[in-house]
């Protein structure tokens, strides 16, 4: 119990600024900042000086020079003749982000399934999940990537005797070839309809929630959502087709001299990398999920059962939401690991940031200091952004104590 403090001002005018703790604190901070800044400036200045003395080109001007090499997998147009090292950097960055994004989504799905299976009451399922986790977690990722790459390559037929799958899909050592959808000028309607469908599905889900809370009646959310998201665009497409319009045509892969030409190609390097990363990271995520689920007290599960909830519903509505607060922080580090591990792409020839930029560009320009600095900054940025997004999510699922 405190009595109200007397109304005298806390900072007496007699104390000289030299002894004012706040001013002193600020001064020390400022001093530290100056020292660190000075050190950094000296280091950079010295490096530039030494590079000049060693007659090694320096600066970032090289990013504007013509690259002169080709890249086989690029989401943006890239040509040896006209593209710059800067463009090569962007190609590598996009490829890294693509692998990381796809890898994170798939690893999360697989990891959750295996983690839940690990706790299954079915003995065989639980043991299988356990074996998967123990085997995969304990083999170095690089070996696994090489295994998947070589396994994928040697199991498939050569380019000239591809497996032909139904629907003009071909599979060979050069990858999976799919028909490439080409959007016609009047195709804008389809994404619009798709967006409308998704919006409708979300709205219906909210509505269903309200209805359930008010009346206890459950509406068929999933079926309606599927109909809106998939059925609506398909219906519009069919309608357009009936009217004689072709909003989407397909470019089919056809046999060329060496390989199939045209169509959409999924490269074995990409597949091997994604496969390796997903299977490896999922094993860790599975353990994270198991830990999270086991952290939910048994009483919660028993209470749910006592209320008559089925086991699937119990998991979805009672256990997982509570487990998430334990799962999310370590899950974030797994996401970061996956992103950083994607730099092992260099071993299987997938043109990611490290392969293109720290490999080819560094070597063609010889500007090791700049290239390595940029690459480190990029990975740092990707990791910080991923971490902050996950922290936002963590705040949402964290236990709110009242």
């Amino acid at each position: 119990m405190q009595t109200p403090a007397p109304a005298t001002p806390r900072s007496s005018p007699k104390v000289s600024p030299l002894y004012d703790p706040r001013i002193r604190g600020a001064a020390y901070q400022l001093l530290l900042l100056v020292v660190v800044g000075l050190l950094a400036w000296t280091a950079i200045d010295n490096a530039a000086d030494n590079l000049r003395n060693a007659r090694i080109a320096s600066g970032f001007g090289f990013l504007g020079n013509t690259a002169g090499f080709d890249v086989n997998q690029s989401l943006i147009p890239f040509a040896a003749a006209s593209s710059t090292y800067g463009a090569a950097f962007v190609v590598g960055l996009i490829n890294t982000l693509m692998v990381a994004a796809i890898g994170i989504v798939l690893a999360t799905i697989l990891g959750f399934l295996v983690g839940i299976a690990r706790l299954s009451e079915n003995w065989i399922v639980a043991r299988l999940a356990e074996i998967y986790i123990e085997v995969i977690r304990n083999i170095p990722l690089l070996l696994q990537l090489l295994f998947w790459y070589i396994a994928v390559l040697s199991a498939l037929p050569s380019a000239r005797d591809s497996y032909a799958l139904p629907g003009s899909v071909f599979l060979n050592q050069r990858g999976l070839f799919l028909p490439r959808p080409l959007l016609a000028a009047d195709a804008w309607a389809l994404p619009l309809v798709l967006a409308l469908g998704i919006a409708g599905a979300v709205a219906f889900r909210i509505h269903a929630g309200r209805v359930q809370r008010r009346t206890g009646r459950r509406l068929p959310v999933r079926r309606v959502a599927a109909l809106l998201v998939l059925g609506l665009p398909l219906a519009v497409w069919g309608l357009l087709a009936l009217l004689g319009l072709a909003p989407v045509t397909f470019e089919l892969p056809v046999k060329g001299t060496f390989n199939l030409r045209g169509g959409l190609q999924l490269y074995p390097e990409f597949v091997a990398l994604v496969l390796g990363l997903v299977i490896y990271t999922a094993a860790f995520i599975a353990e994270v999920v198991r830990a999270g689920i086991q952290a939910v007290s048994r009483g919660q599960r028993e209470a749910a059962r006592a209320l008559g909830l089925q086991s699937g519903t119990t998991l979805r509505l009672v256990v997982i939401p509570q487990a998430m607060r334990v799962i999310v922080p370590p899950l974030t580090s797994q996401y970061l690991n996956l992103t950083k591990n994607s730099s092992l792409a260099v071993a299987v020839g997938y043109p990611d940031l490290v392969q293109i930029f720290m490999g080819t560009v560094l070597n063609q320009t010889g500007q090791a200091v700049e290239v390595v600095a940029i690459t480190m900054a990029v990975y740092l940025t990707i990791s910080l952004v991923t971490a902050s997004v996950m922290n936002l999510y963590n705040r949402r699922v964290a236990l709110v104590e009242r």
Binding site: A47, N50, A80, F258, A347, L362, G366
Partner: protein, 339 residues
């Protein structure tokens, strides 16, 4: 990975130390260490490859041995540091190796922007293609639409892009970090063609599951003067490297071999006397002893011997001398006179 280590060392070194560390004479450093740090190819038969006992062999490897022989009178005082194509220049710049003797092409940009010097060309080469026989391809011009495996960080990668662009052909490049991965991918069928320097094609073909099923196409699409590289700014060291190669050439031209070098020491031929150091003190002017070239020939051999032993008729590669014959026999290897 070596590149990260080397780059970090380079970065830290550049940031923390003044110019003094860099400017130290390489020869003094080598003598202090007691050995020569030689950046070598990790596995290219004929140029630089360790055998089952860990003993390195190859033309580039023997060049480093010749240097060690000239400096220490002992060709074994070399430590070979295997470097991939993309790590090699950083390793040299950062001082991890004293010399890069690793079939590296001498090009203007490498000479002028990397802070390096290429003192002498020890192998004249050119880029070629290898394909599987069963494809029925007889010329590189027929490779339209092919997948081509190559090693990244090489001039090969650039020549490839130039060649296909100039001939208006389409191709798909699959680039790998190491020569080993590149060739494995080609061998397992990932690519239709494999491209590197012609000497490399013959060397790698030996590793194929069925070497005879592969054929090297006739086109040579580039000039690849392969040269040892040193850091720029140490003229004495560059001279030692340059004249080590020229001593081997001059020895071959004068008919001095590993076998007859001791008899030759009593020769009256003034050229021979100058090479072997019985007349004049040429070696001392580059910081070595006057019998430096004698040591090279005695302990390693002349250029012709080293060539035939590693890549020529005495090796599985059976590469012809061709451009690498002495100038007097129609080749490009020309050693300026020692006098």
């Amino acid at each position: 990975m070596t590149i990260i280590k080397a780059a970090l060392a380079l970065g830290l070194g550049l940031c923390l130390f003044g110019g003094a560390a860099q400017a130290q004479a390489t020869l003094t450093g080598v003598k202090q260490k007691g050995y020569l740090a030689c950046g070598s190819n990790p596995a290219l038969a004929g140029f630089g490859v360790p055998d089952a006992q860990g003993r390195w062999t190859g033309l580039d490897v023997d060049f480093c041995r010749a240097l060690a022989a000239a400096i220490f009178n002992d060709p074994t005082k070399v430590r070979f540091i295997p470097l991939s194509a993309k790590d090699r220049f950083t390793a040299l710049q950062s001082g991890e190796v004293d010399i890069l003797s690793r079939n590296s092409t001498w090009s203007m940009s490498r000479d002028t922007t990397l802070g390096l010097d290429f003192p002498a060309v020890n192998f004249y080469d050119g880029q070629g293609f290898m394909v599987k026989k069963k494809l029925g391809v007889t010329s590189a011009k027929q490779l339209d639409g092919a997948s081509i495996c190559t090693q990244q960080g090489t001039t090969t990668e650039l020549n490839l892009a130039d060649y296909f662009r100039a001939n208006k052909l389409k191709y798909e490049v699959v680039a790998f970090a190491s020569a080993d991965e590149t060739f494995k991918a080609y061998d397992s069928g990932r690519c239709d063609a494999f491209t590197t320097d012609a000497s490399g094609l013959y060397s790698e073909r030996l590793r194929a599951t069925a070497p005879d099923d592969n054929v090297v196409l006739p086109e040579i699409i580039s000039k690849e003067p392969l040269a040892p590289a040193v850091r720029q700014g140490d003229a004495q060291w560059a001279d030692i490297v340059r004249w080590t190669h020229y001593a081997m050439l001059n020895a071959e031209e004068a008919g001095i071999t590993q076998a007859n070098v001791d008899q030759m020491k009593s020769s009256d031929n003034p050229d021979v006397k100058r090479i072997l150091g019985t007349e004049g003190k040429y070696g001392e002017a580059i910081g070595l002893t006057s019998d430096w070239a004698y040591r090279i020939v005695k302990l390693v051999g002349n250029y012709g011997e080293v060539f035939e032993r590693n890549v020529g008729q005495g090796s599985p590669l059976k590469i012809q001398r061709g451009l690498n014959a002495l100038w007097s026999k129609g080749g490009l290897q020309y050693g300026p006179p020692i006098r």
